[in-house]
């Protein structure tokens, strides 16, 4: 699976892991990963195995943020590789997400 999701034992934390290119092809899977969860679940997007992020992936992150409460959402994006970090930097998404 290119998109895997895991919920912590206490059900409070969702981790979505992306493998390979994070682009429009993952749209459906990414959506399904968070759709059924309450909006107050803590969200982590793990990009350890993501090689590339395009603008539709940024759009997907915005959808997740919207689902998780918009301006009140706290979403962490972790393990971004240097190329992916560059894309987050240009788009200044670190102003909306906790990106490492």
């Amino acid at each position: 699976m290119a998109v895997t999701s895991e919920i912590s034992a206490d059900g409070r934390k969702l981790t979505i892991a992306i493998k390979g290119r994070f682009d429009f092809a993952k749209h459906q899977q990414f959506r399904e990963a968070y759709e059924k969860l309450d909006s107050d679940t803590e969200c982590v997007v793990d990009l350890k195995e993501a090689t590339y992020v395009d603008s539709s992936a940024l759009g997907m992150l915005l959808l997740l943020r919207d689902h998780a409460g918009g301006d009140n959402a706290e979403i962490r994006v972790i393990n971004s590789n240097p190329d992916v970090l560059k894309i987050f930097n240009i788009s200044n998404f670190d102003k909306l997400f906790d990106i490492t």
Binding site: S55, S56, G59, L63, D71, I90, S91, N92, K95
Partner: protein, 565 residues
């Protein structure tokens, strides 16, 4: 067998013809019979059978020639031809494939084998039919889509027009259908003769990407024409896009104001790749880096419209590009990248060749050209045309207000976030006699207002702007002091009065600042290339009769006009 086919049998031996015909009919197909190649071709042309069994050696016209003609008649439709032969198998196969045959059946005929071959050939035939149908369907859809795009683009071109992209100091590269790649390039003159330029990149492709471009272009052109600054325009664009775009769509954009008169460029970059500002004199290149989130994401309260201002002398150049340039992928999925781009910029000798050189580099890197990148280059150039497009007024001269005055005082918090200039200009343009001078009046009023605000109320020293670093420092201080502003005022007094055969406008701008040493400043020669003190010298250039009170807290300019006979 599930489908019944019409099978043409071309065989000169009547015994074989009978045998084959009965085998094929037993399988549930209809048969057409021909005794030589010429008959076969004629029958094919008339009856269009779906499959042909063709003897190789026949009188009048042999099977090879008949096969060639039948294939030509069939065109794109696959009509399988199975050669019947007693010839050496390999040789027959080779020759029959050469003329377009699809299979070979050797004598003596085995009914089971023939049935199997017909089934396989029919499967191939139907596969080809499906492919052709789908191809035609896709072609139809594509035509339809292209036509829709053409119509949409024609509508868009009416709304967005080309602005001043054709100005001699602007060059650009953009696919005619860039709009449907989500790229948008707009340029327009402000009423004071500065140039506003926007290069934007919507997420996604096709119609969704193009839809957001329409309101963006409308805001850009109307607010630029009315004299709004980048900050107000950006707020409006962001709010509009945020309201209409779905959550996962946004618009990366670089918006800038090139002012040759003020020797500066004001830049806002949200999510676009670095643009480059190249100084002609020093050859120095400055990256214009993205400082903000793209447009259409943040709600108005959170949106940050703060811009950066850099010195830009006449002859200096700006180069902007969309991410397609950097993301062009070459061999091994490698990306063109910023470093390769910078090498092209370094190697550039003739600025007007730059875009062509980048295009060539992308072509060399990728092996073919791509049509989804946009690039634009603008050179700061004096003099900018100072003629405003005359705003169409439907009223006659009767309504022009000729005898009135008004005084405005803008204080503290208002100075922080409100730009009164578009309103003041609009008010003044109600006076018909002033319309022809609109550009100059706007330029002078803008300068007087920003002098009063920056040097007066905010107490900024224009000497800071002597060099490029100070320039940046100046605008940083300006933002800081403006954000902390609690008191102070700028007063604008407008007086319009009729005089014999015409009228006169007096503009007086006062501020609450410390004032300045008027005598010293005015005694300086008018140095056009100095970065500092642009305000006063620009006002004096445009309006020689400008006057300052001795304490430097009040400036007055006068414009008069003669009524048209």
């Amino acid at each position: 067998m599930n489908t019944s086919l019409t099978v043409l049998i071309a065989e000169d031996s009547s015994a074989d013809r009978l045998l084959l015909s009965s085998i094929v009919q037993l399988q549930g197909h209809n048969v057409l019979l021909a005794a030589n190649g010429a008959e076969a071709v004629a029958l094919f042309a008339r009856e269009r059978p779906q499959l042909v069994l063709m003897d190789a050696v026949m009188p009048v016209m042999d099977g090879f020639e008949a096969a060639r003609q039948i294939k030509a008649l069939a065109g794109e439709v696959l009509v399988p031809i199975i050669f019947l032969t007693s010839l050496n198998q390999a040789d027959a196969l080779a020759r029959s494939l050469e003329v377009g045959g699809d299979d070979v059946l050797s004598k003596p005929y085995n009914p089971m084998l023939l049935a199997a071959k017909i089934t396989v050939m029919d499967r191939m035939r139907r596969l080809q039919e499906t492919v052709l149908q789908q191809r035609d369907q896709i072609a139809r859809h594509n035509d339809y889509l292209l036509n829709e795009q053409r119509v949409a683009k024609a509508v868009f071109d009416r709304v967005a027009h080309a602005g001043c992209l054709s100005a001699p100091n602007i060059s650009y590269l953009q696919s005619p259908y860039a709009l449907f790649n989500g790229d948008l390039l707009l340029a327009a003159y402000t009423p004071t003769g500065d140039t506003h330029l926007l290069l934007a990149d919507f997420t996604g492709h096709g119609l969704p990407a193009a839809i957001g471009a329409m309101p963006l272009a409308e805001v850009f052109y109307s607010m630029t024409a009315k004299g709004y600054g980048l900050a107000e325009m950006l707020r409006e664009m962001n709010a509009k896009l945020q309201g209409i775009l779905p959550v996962d769509m946004f618009c990366c954009a670089t918006v800038l104001c090139v002012s040759a008169q003020r020797r500066s460029v004001e830049v806002w970059n949200g999510g676009m790749p670095d643009g480059y500002l190249q100084a002609r004199a020093t050859g120095q290149r400055r990256a214009l880096t993205s400082q903000h989130l793209p447009l259409g994401i943040l709600r108005a309260e959170a949106f940050d419209h703060s811009t950066r201002v850099w010195p830009m002398l006449p002859g200096d150049q700006l180069f902007l590009l969309t991410d397609g340039v950097i993301d062009t992928s070459g061999p091994d999925e490698q990306l063109f990248g910023v470093e390769r781009l910078q090498q092209v910029l370094d190697a550039n000798r003739q600025p007007h060749m730059l875009i062509a050189e980048v295009e060539q580099a992308l072509h060399d890197f990728q092996g073919h050209s791509r049509d989804d990148v946009s690039m634009v280059q603008i050179t700061s150039q004096l003099p900018q045309p100072l003629d405003v497009p005359v705003m169409p007024y439907s009223d006659s001269d009767q309504c022009s207000p000729l005898d009135w005055s008004a005084s405005f005082e803008f204080r503290g918090a208002t100075l922080q976030r409100f730009n009164p200039l578009p309103y003041l200009l609009q008010l003044l343009m109600e006076v018909h006699g002033l319309r022809a001078r609109g550009a100059v009046i706007h330029a002078v009023l803008s300068e007087l207002y920003s002098n009063a605000l920056e040097h007066g109320v905010l107490g900024l020293d224009s000497r800071l702007k002597r060099d490029a670093r100070g320039f940046a420092r100046y605008y940083q201080l300006r933002n800081e002091r403006l954000a902390a502003l609690r008191s102070g005022f700028v007063r604008v007094r407008v007086q319009v009065e009729p005089v014999p055969r015409g009228g006169r406008l007096l503009l007086q701008v006062d501020d609450s600042g410390e004032g300045f040493d008027v005598a010293t400043v005015l005694s300086r020669p008018l140095d056009l290339n100095r970065l500092s003190g642009r305000g006063v010298s620009l006002v004096r250039q445009l309006c020689p009769a400008a006057q300052w009170s001795a304490d430097g807290r009040s400036a007055t300019v006068e414009f008069s006009w003669e009524a048209l006979a």
